[in-house]
């Protein structure tokens, strides 16, 4: 069996950034294992720009962003395997992968970073009523087809869900000559960024139907009609609000889920993020197994993915050097009023080097709001925000010295100013 100090599963932006950081921290025995024929992950198909504003202070397209990282991986000579699918991780950190040249290979790792990204919720996951014709795709599938294979999946399109990928595909398909008839969003507010609503929908006069969802899908073999209707606060259809569109394509942009398949058989708890429960080092319940990027929680900005990957790399190197003690004062971090989730969920404060960041999302949009971080019943940090929305993850960085080590619970919550 091959032995490696650090095995990184998934060579997307998270995996590459983690590998580079671990290398910079002195770790030399690294292997990246990637399923696709290239490094870069999902960014390969995200040809639009808007990546890297934090990381490089310029607006890059997805392929440009990922190339900067893959060049660095090459330059440093960090080993990677392509076309290699990881099939299993065992309790004692044996990683099994397979590819057509080597067959099935087992690698005994001292530490593992899981960075396998996310997958899209599909028609099965949301149970659309009506027929099951062809012509229904997830937005990401349609994106892969048009951007990488030059194939436009349809000519008359309706989009369910206002997630960013759906909005970006509304523009992309319009530019390629398709007619996008509208976007329906179940919630009374968009799941995507304002910028995308303006530049992808308003620019092309594509209507956004808020508080609407698909009521019926019709078509014998291929999709012919989609009917949407308005919903009330209890998510019941309101009679008389039906609108029917003649379309050949329905794109679904109804959410992303962390791809935690490889964790399912392991004694690793899954949190509200749908990713693993982790501590301040991005380490799961199994010591030495870390996670970062979309497999941990779905990110909207790749810049934050990269930042998180570096935290995981720091954690993995600390672990490999025997510096993660898991001793002393521990906190459990809980989402309070208005907060959907917080990462990390556990903090061994003595293992924190100098700063600690909490990442979270609100459940609904707020204006003029204070974010509170409380240890027990003492507020240790309060931050004012003019606006905060579920589609944009928030990060609060705290100095280690702010923690009092008195109580064992930390809560993060918001309160609106009246």
């Amino acid at each position: 069996m091959i032995k490696k100090r650090l095995v990184i599963i998934g060579g997307g932006s998270a995996g590459m950034a983690a590998a580079i950081k671990a290398y910079e921290l002195g770790e030399r025995d690294i292997l990246i294992i990637e399923k696709n024929a290239y490094l870069g992950g999902i960014l390969n198909q995200c040809i639009h720009n808007g990546f890297g504003l934090h990381e490089f202070k310029e607006e890059l397209t997805g392929p440009e962003f990922m190339t900067r990282f893959s060049k660095k991986v090459e330059e440093l000579g960090i080993p990677y395997r392509l076309n290699s699918n990881v099939l299993n991780i065992s309790n004692d950190k044996v990683v099994t992968y397979s590819n057509s040249q080597e067959g099935i290979v087992e690698v005994k790792a001292d530490a593992i970073i899981l960075s396998t990204g996310c997958y899209e919720r599909n028609a099965g996951a949301i149970q659309i009523p009506g027929d099951r014709p062809s012509g229904v795709y997830t937005a990401g599938q349609a994106q892969l087809f048009v951007n990488c294979y030059g194939y436009l999946v349809g000519k008359r399109v309706f989009i369910l869900g206002s997630g960013d990928i759906g909005l970006i595909m509304a523009r992309r398909m319009t530019l390629e000559g398709a007619k996008v008839l509208g976007v329906a969003e179940l919630m009374p507010y968009s799941a995507g960024l304002n910028r995308n609503i303006v530049q992808c929908l308003k620019d092309f006069n594509i209507p956004l139907y808020l508080s609407h969802t698909v009521k019926k899908v019709e078509g014998l073999s291929h999709l012919e009609k989609v009917t949407i209707a308005k919903v009330d606060e209890k998510m019941n259809f309101i009679e008389g609000t039906d609108i029917t569109f003649d379309v050949d394509t329905l794109l679904l942009s109804v959410g992303l889920l962390p791809n935690v398949d490889l964790f399912n058989k392991l004694p690793i708890r899954i949190s509200r993020t749908r990713g693993a429960v982790v501590n301040q080092a991005m380490e799961s319940d199994i010591r030495g197994i870390f996670a970062c990027g979309n497999v941990l929680h779905v990110h909207d900005l790749v810049d934050y993915v990269v930042e998180e990957a570096r935290e995981a790399a720091v954690g993995a190197v600390q672990y490999l050097n025997g510096e993660l003690k898991h001793e002393g004062h521990v906190y459990e971090v809980n989402p309070g009023n208005g907060i959907g989730y917080v990462v990390p969920q556990i903090v061994y404060i003595d293992d924190v080097k100098d700063k600690l960041s909490f990442k979270f999302r609100v459940r609904k949009p707020y204006k003029d709001v204070d974010i509170y971080i409380k240890e027990g019943d003492k507020v240790i940090k309060k931050i004012f925000k003019p606006a905060i929305i579920p589609s944009e993850m928030e990060i609060v960085k705290l100095d280690k010295s702010l923690f009092l080590k008195e109580a064992n619970e930390i809560s993060v919550y918001v309160e609106e100013r009246k």
Binding site: I47, P63, E64, N147, Y149, G150, D203
Partner: protein, 114 residues
């Protein structure tokens, strides 16, 4: 009078602009700057793909190296879709030079080695 949503920050202020280009509804000055630009000279960076002759890929992602006037976007698409390139290509290689004399190039955003 025109109404638009500010896209500079997540607050998404609802901006109202009168005929003399006076902006109201903005919570901060950046909103006014955005509204004026958007109403006098709206521009967008175009990202799309061109056909490529290569062993590995069929399409090459490209972008306009500067924002294009919004009204030229579809004309640019038509021209780009008639264009095809051959590998090898490097990020930044010019695919269409000085498109419509606008001092904007269409450039590759991915390396394709062969």
């Amino acid at each position: 009078m025109k109404e638009l949503t500010c896209i500079i920050c997540p607050r998404g202020c609802h901006l109202v602009v009168d005929d003399e280009l006076n902006v109201s509804g903005n919570t901060c000055p950046r909103g006014a700057v955005y509204a004026k630009q958007e109403l006098t000279h709206p521009t967008r960076t175009l990202t799309t793909t061109v056909r490529i002759v290569s062993e590995k890929e069929v399409s090459l992602p490209v972008k306009s190296d500067k924002p294009l006037p919004k009204e030229k976007i579809f004309d640019a698409m038509a021209l780009i879709n008639k264009t095809s390139v051959k590998a090898p290509i490097k990020i930044g290689d010019v695919v269409i030079k000085n498109i419509f004399g606008l001092d904007v190039n269409i450039v590759a955003t991915k390396d394709v080695s062969r």
